[in-house]
Every structure is written in C-alpha cells, then in structure tokens.
Amino acid sequence: MTALLIGLLCFAAHVGVTLVWLRLPGRMSPVARHAVSALATHILGLVIAVYLVEEFAYWPAAAVNAFGVVCCLFAFSAVYKSVSLRVLTELARAPGRSLAMETITAEHVQPEFEARISVLVKMGCAAETPEGFVATAKGKDAASRIQAVQGVCGINASGLYGAELAKPASD
C-alpha cells in the first residue's frame, strides 16, 4: 500500500514538472521532456522515500508510476499529433459543427501535411531544392532503418488506416 502511494506521488511530481517544462522554450522535444521528467521524478521520489519510509517494495511503486506516465504521454501524443483529433476540434469550432470534406482537406489536412514537411526539413531528413523536396542522406538512412523495423514487424506501410475505414459513410 505504501509503495503504491509512493508511485502515485512520483507520478504527481512528473505531471507537475512536465506541465511546467512543456511551457518553457528550449530545443528538447516534448516527448524527450516527458521521458527525462519521468525518469528524474521516479529516481528522486525513490530516494526521498528511502529517507521517509522504513522499507517498501519497488514494483508496486514502479507499476503505478509507469502506468501514469504512459497514460500521460498517450494523452499528450493524441492531442499533439493526431490528425483525426485535430479535425474533430476544428469541427467543434465550425458553424453548425460541420465542414465540407474539401474544406477539411484544403484548410486542415493540406496545412498539416506542409507542417510535417517543415518538421522533416528541420530534422535534416528532407531538403528543399529548386526542383522540389529530396530525401537527404540522413533521411535515406532513417527511411531504411524504419523499413527494416517494418519488415521485422511484417508491415507493408501505406500510412492509411485501411480500405475499410477509407470508404465514405453513406448520408
């Protein structure tokens, strides 16, 4: 029971640190900030607990802390990167809560596509030339590593969820 509580307090500390850190400028990516904060608050929490508590089991504390951290990262990733959720929030803001398919593509999906191009250029994986965009040596290397992982996982990536989802629903 004490160990569960220690894990919960480590998680609470992680939430506090992350929410502040995500608002501060810096070069470190948001996901890396989550990871560093999770690890630091876990270790610090355990060290403090050693001084305050006589004896406790590690795994219950680790389980509660890890589950909280993963849920937090999952929620952050969903609202940070998910195109579907982004479209949903745009629908919520639109008059009548509805948008034409063409509008969604032109005003939300196309800009999102261009934003991801900027990310790839910023990461040094793609470069803009007078003829258009090309994969850099770093990009080619990353692509071949991704393909290797996909091969191990038996995935023929299309980037689309699937034909059964892609069909438009009837009116």
Binding site: A57, A66, F67, A78, V83, L91, A92, V134
Partner: protein, 171 residues
C-alpha cells in the same frame, strides 16, 4: 536494504507477460500465423497476452496489492506497445519520409502528397483519418458534409481542447 527490488511471483509472471506481448505480436506478423491487418494483429496479440496473464494470476493467487501491481504493469506494456505499433504502422511523418525516399527524385508538395497516398488525391487521406471519427461515432456524414455528433463527438472534442490547454499547446 530499504527498497525490496525482488519481484513476487505474480509480478514476475506479469513481467513475463510484458515480454510475451511483443513476442506474440512478432509471431502473428509472419507466416504461418500471420494476421494481415496490423490493427487486428495488435488486438489479437494483446488479447492472447491478457488471457495468458489472467490464467497465470488465477494460478498465482496474488493479494490485492500484487494484483493491482501486476495488472498495471501489463496495462503499461499494452499501452506503450500500442503507441509504438501505431507509429510504425500508420505514423504520418514517418510514412511521408518513406514516400519521399521511395520516389528517388525531387518532389513538389503535390507530388509528395500523391506519393504518400500512392496516387490518390489528398482527399483519400482525409477520408482515411475521418474514418476513425466515423467508426467511433464522433462524427457523421450528413448531406455531403462532415458533422460532429452532438454527444460523443462534442464530449471528445471538449476533452481534446482541455488536454491541449493543460499541456500548453495552441488551441
């Protein structure tokens, strides 16, 4: 030692289940057990793992702290595995890089989008991502327009906006 790092039997079994999840996922990714759909593959691997874990827990008869610890450990592994799996199978930026690399030449933004969707208009990508919203009942298509559903859709959109505010992301 004030911290007991030795896992109990139920916790050890859960850690084993955490390893079993990616192992079963890999087994289902290749012949003879291959499940074609990556989404169904993950669901099957997770279901198999949780069934095996449940059987192991009945045999190990843990107390409530061990049961909570064990369940949280496997839930953490499942959620983390799901996040990684979706990234490998459907990652937007990642698939864009693969498409650029596959093209082997410079691409304009429009050509890159076509390479991403394998020759379909960007609308196909919009429909694909919207398919998730439609399937989950968060949006529907009415008279050619995409409309947010009044209950589920609105609730989800509110949560998404709240989370964006909480994480300090622009609305």
């Amino acid at each position: 030692m004030p911290i007991d790092f030795v896992p109990s039997l139920p916790v050890s079994l859960s850690l084993g289940a955490c390893v079993f999840l990616p192992a079963s996922l890999l087994a289902l990714s290749h012949r003879p057990l291959k499940v074609i759909s990556p989404a169904r593959r993950f669901v099957m691997a997770a279901a198999l793992t949780w069934l095996a874990w449940f059987a192991a827990m009945i045999a190990a008869a843990p107390d409530w702290v061990e049961a909570v610890t064990s369940g949280l450990l496997l839930a953490t592994a499942t959620l983390a595995g799901f996040t990684l799996w979706t990234l490998i199978a459907w990652g937007f930026t990642l698939t864009m890089l693969l498409a650029l690399n596959r093209a082997g030449r410079s691409l304009s933004v429009e050509e890159w989008a076509l390479a991403y969707t394998r020759g379909k208009p960007l609308d196909a990508f919009t429909r694909d991502r919207l398919g998730v919203l439609l399937k989950l009942g968060l949006a529907e298509i009415r008279g050619g327009e995409v409309t947010m559903t009044p209950n589920c859709g609105r609730a989800f959109a509110r949560v998404a906006v709240l989370l964006r505010k909480l994480f300090g992301l622009p609305i």
